[in-house]
């Protein structure tokens, strides 16, 4: 194998790609999910292809023209070969087509002849490098155990997420729970609640709250209580045994508060197909203060 000064370039490239695996999961996700990265990579790849294609084509044409004109492509032409061509030739290490009869083997299978070109050095070194990668990877994760396995990785992410969340909640104004929730009456909140209702609740309770799979939310009768606190609580924890799912993992408290506001604002409207009343009569909210509770 001939040594080559430019091998390092190829090495750096392949090593770069392989080393990606050792980065932290989030960093790598960030890099790989950034559209810019992909765009740049794709453009660079195509530029590279185009460059190689143009370079090899121009080379071929040069030879072809020279041959046609009866000129001998001697040393002087070779000397004018570009840096890229020379590098490529070394990385590829193939016999020129004109000399290929020298390396034609005496195999002949139904007219198919085989040449005895060397393994392309870039290919061979890439192969070796991938083996090195394999050993390093296994040693890193399973022998030295210096890399995080998936559960450790998960637990770290979760701990970090908890911290971030706590940090955020310190400053956020959406800490209401079923005990502290108040009835919002401003138009913006009710409008926001309406949107959330359409997206999440309308399926079972109908778009106008008239009920369907789930009960009617417009009338004065409530199965699980009709106070602000009760409605919020029903949304938050759900009533799984009856089919009402819990929304606390999918929606933050302020959103659930907005939804409560919208639901209670429906009182007195007339749905298209109202479901018959279920549960107990509750008349608290109409007159009562928002902090009223069901007891």
């Amino acid at each position: 194998m001939k040594t080559n000064n430019y091998y390092w370039l190829f090495f750096a490239l392949v090593a770069g790609v392989f080393s990606l695996a050792y980065f932290d999961g989030d960093q790598i996700t960030a890099v790989f999910t950034s559209q810019t990265t992909w765009l740049v990579a794709i453009i660079a790849f195509f530029l590279f292809l185009a460059f190689s294609a143009v370079s090899s084509a121009s080379n071929a044409i040069k030879h072809y023209v020279a041959k046609k004109e009866g000129r001998d492509i001697g040393a002087e032409d070779l000397a004018t070969e570009t840096w890229w061509e020379k590098t490529w030739q070394k990385l590829q290490d193939s016999k020129p087509i004109e000399e290929e009869t020298d390396i034609a083997l005496d195999h002949n299978y139904d007219g198919i002849v085989e040449l005895d070109n060397n393994l392309p050095p870039w290919w061979l070194w890439g192969f070796y490098l991938s083996m090195v990668f394999a050993v390093v990877y296994l040693v890193h994760f399973h022998v030295l155990q210096t890399g995080d396995l998936q559960i450790e990785e998960y637990e770290k992410t979760m701990a970090e997420a908890e911290l971030q969340k706590a940090e955020y909640l310190k400053t956020a104004a959406n800490l209401v729970d079923e005990n502290t929730v108040t009835l919002l009456t401003d138009e913006a909140s009710i409008k926001a609640g309406k949107k959330l209702f359409a997206l999440n609740c309308a399926v079972c309770h109908a778009a106008d709250g008239g009920g369907g799979v789930g009960p009617n939310l417009v009338d004065d009768y409530w199965i699980h209580g009709g106070s602000v606190n009760d409605v919020f609580k029903t949304i938050k924890y759900g009533v799984p045994e009856k089919g009402m799912i819990s929304w606390k993992d999918q929606m933050n408290p302020s959103k659930m508060q907005q939804m409560t506001a919208y639901i209670l604002s429906l009182k007195g409207t007339v749905p298209v197909k109202p479901k018959e009343p279920q549960g107990e009569l509750y008349q608290g909210n109409a007159a009562a203060s928002p902090n009223d509770s069901a007891q």
Binding site: G25, I112, N117, L119, C204
Partner: protein, 706 residues
């Protein structure tokens, strides 16, 4: 010694080639139907045998075993005789092989839409058909080997090494992955469960790609590319190194389909590193193909055949770089379960397999019909339509894959998911599904153009049934040439070549699978995990029959974005009674492993009847037949008995009184439904009741422990 004259048999190569075109068109039309169903769910037509879950298996099996399978046999029957200078050994075996294979395909076309499936990807066919496949495959192997033994060419050309490796490995994979105990003529349970079943399945699944879609096609490449270009093969040495490296390394890479799952991590890591090591052996094939065309690039401009080959080999190179990169955990975490994976696969099948096949057809048919191609122009048109078709197929799916994956993982600062409703991430990418269908249609239009061209070519020629050739017979004594390359030794010993190929592929298989089966620590048991009730087991079989696992995974990975969406991540010990495992490989819908107890019975009832009533905009088909069909319980007891044989602990009392237990559970669910839904018309014997029982059981056993 005198030259001998003999005749090549072209009939079966031709028949396989025609079968390739016919089945190929059918398989792709089914694929197009399935693609359109994701855009227009009404196309499921409320008809059981037309639903996506059943058609998907038919499409994949058709594309792999009917389209590519027939083309491989066509190529082998044509090239083998000529490379060995002898007639195919047995006309009777050829005939048996051809008709046997077509019957198997026909039986797949009938049974898969009926819902008779083992649920294991690319191995869905039930056990009687599996046995038929094994017999026909062996007939093919015998015919090939017998021909090799009768050869007039001392050494085996590289194409034949690939054929031999293909033959032994596919036989091995097929048999091990389909080991099952029959319940009835149309139903069986695999001997492996859960994690082990998953490992065996993806050892098979990955190597079906490797040894059915890759190695035999490389063999075809080594014959047809140098023939069509009339150029010598670039490097004999490269052939040797990449052949052995490829078959040795490929077999280990299966676990890369199971990264971040409950599979033991040492196995996952093996999958990753062996995939990375596969890049260069795969590229060895690409290099030898493309560099063989050195000095023939001017011909590529003219010849549609060479154009097809160039794009095919380039697609092979792209897919075999992409595959290993997808095996890196960081990239896999983004791509797995999304449409990125189908995009990757279709670069391989439409590009590499399809275009190799088309090139081969255009080259082979005129020769066998002693004529020239009816229209080069049409062939070139086919090439361009097909290429644009591939791009339109793959690009939208890459975009869809990225987009959906990012949406799945996006959090609000308060720790809730931005797209908590899975459906939002689906409706976002439906336009991409539509574009993909456009790409598929273009590809099919290209095939129709080919059909016309082929038909006119056949019309204009005369089929040469028997083609004369002559060669010297092999001498008894062989004196090897001085300084011959060491590898020549095995090239004149087909039996050793086969045995060594087998040894090489067995290594990876055994070293990965056996420890997973034997070492207890690989699957920590969970005391609260109990076997399914008989009703749940029947529900599970409905889930399998409907192909729910084509769109729904049952494997919550240990990611924050998944535990927030679905619940606790899945543990190996939860699957110990899952014969077969149902982890799935694609999330067109949400994961279902923790769906148990999440919704009410009534929600499931309404959702299965009309998914859009519960999730407006859903692209899931409706399943009205589950509501009319009474549950078939003829085999219920036998199912329990088979499960006991497989090590699932059902008590004798339970097996004896299964009807009683089934009735109790079904009655309770029916009562709930009647209470929850007004005027519901449900009987406890309805199939839907069993399915609900199963869905409500999913993933809840570990909750009992907490």
């Amino acid at each position: 010694m005198n030259t001998e004259t003999f005749y090549y048999d072209n009939r079966w190569a031709k028949n396989f080639l025609i079968a390739t075109m016919v089945w190929g068109l059918i398989a792709l039309l089914i694929g197009l139907t399935a693609a359109l169903q994701l855009v227009f769910p009404e196309l499921n037509a409320n008809t059981s045998w037309l639903t996506f879950g059943r058609l998907r298996a038919l499409h994949t099996n058709g594309a792999i075993f009917a389209f590519v399978g027939n083309s491989i046999f066509a190529g082998v029957y044509y090239s083998l005789q000529r490379l060995l200078k002898t007639r195919i050994a047995s006309d009777a075996l050829s005939k048996f092989h051809f008709w046997g294979w077509q019957l198997i395909i026909l039986s797949a076309v009938i049974t898969l839409p009926m819902g008779l499936t083992s649920s294991k990807e690319y191995a869905e066919l039930e056990w009687p058909i599996d046995i038929a496949i094994a017999i026909v495959w062996v007939a093919f192997g015998v015919n090939m080997f017998w021909t090799i033994l009768k050869r007039r060419e001392r050494h085996l050309y590289v194409a034949i090494w690939f054929f031999i490796a293909t033959f032994v490995t596919v036989a091995l994979l097929h048999i091990v992955n389909n080991l099952a105990i029959p319940v009835s003529f149309t139903k069986s349970y695999p001997v492996f469960a859960g994690v082990q079943d998953a490992l065996v399945q993806w050892w098979y699944g990955h190597n079906a790609v490797a040894f059915f879609l890759t190695t035999p096609v490389l063999g075809l490449m080594y014959y047809f590319v140098p023939k069509a270009a009339n150029r010598p093969v670039y490097s004999y040495r490269l052939s040797i190194v990449h052949f052995w490296a490829l078959i040795f390394l490929y077999i280990w890479a299966g676990p890369h389909h199971l990264l971040y799952t409950a599979l033991p991590e040492w196995a996952q890591s093996l999958g990753t590193v062996f995939s990375i090591m596969l890049i260069f052996p795969s590229w060895g094939g690409m290099l030898n193909g493309l560099l063989t065309l050195r000095g023939a690039w001017d011909k590529v401009r003219e010849s549609a055949v060479l154009k097809f080959f160039v794009v095919a080999i380039t697609c092979y190179g792209m897919a075999t770089l992409e595959g290993p990169l997808l095996s890196l955990k960081s990239i896999n975490a983004i791509a797995h379960y999304t449409d990125w994976i189908p995009a990757h696969v279709h670069i391989g099948t439409l590009g590499w397999n399809g275009f190799m096949i088309f090139g081969m057809i255009y080259w082979l048919l005129p020769r066998m019909y002693n004529t020239s191609l009816f229209s080069q122009k049409m062939a070139n048109t086919h090439f361009w339509i097909g290429t644009v078709g591939i791009i339109f197929w793959a690009l939208p799916m890459y975009v869809a894959g990225f987009t959906q994956s990012l949406m799945w993982k996006e959090f609000n600062p308060d720790g809730t998911l931005v797209y908590a409703n899975f459906l939002e991430t689906v409706t976002q990418i439906v336009p991409m599904y539509a574009l993909r269908a456009v790409g598929g249609s273009l590809y099919i239009i290209g095939m129709l153009v080919m059909g016309v061209n082929v038909f006119r070519t056949i019309k204009s020629g005369n089929f040469i049934k028997e083609e004369e050739d002559s060669a010297m017979p092999l001498t008894k004594v062989f004196k090897k040439a001085k300084g011959e390359y060491w590898h020549r030794w095995i090239e004149r010993r087909p039996v050793q070549l086969m045995v060594w190929s087998l040894v090489v592929v067995l290594l990876g298989g055994i070293l990965e699978i056996v420890p997973t089966l034997m070492v207890k620590s690989n699957i920590p048991t969970i005391a609260s995990v109990k076997p399914y009730t008989v009703l749940e087991l029947e529900g599970r079989d409905i889930y399998i029959r409907e192909g729910c696992n084509a769109c729904h995974s049952q494997m919550v990975r240990p990611f924050r974005s998944e535990t927030a969406r679905y619940g606790e991540y899945s543990k190996a010990g939860e699957f110990v009674y899952d014969h077969p495992f149902l982890w799935g490989s694609k999330r067109t819908g949400p994961d279902l492993h923790r769906v148990g107890g999440k919704y009410s019975h009534s929600w499931h009832y309404n959702h299965m009847l009309d998914p859009q009533s519960m999730s407006p905009g859903s692209i899931m088909p409706r399943y009205p037949w589950l509501f009319g069909n009474p549950l078939n319980t003829i085999h219920s007891q036998e199912k329990l008995n088979v499960m006991v044989k497989l090590g699932v602990p059902y008590s004798q009392d339970y097996i004896d009184n299964w009807e009683h237990y089934m009735d109790l559970q079904a009655q309770a669910i029916t009562d709930d439904l009647r209470e929850q839904i007004e005027e519901v018309d449900v009987e406890k014997s309805d199939e839907i009741v069993a399915l609900i029982a199963y869905l409500q059981r999913l993933g809840i056993d570990i909750k009992a422990e907490n």
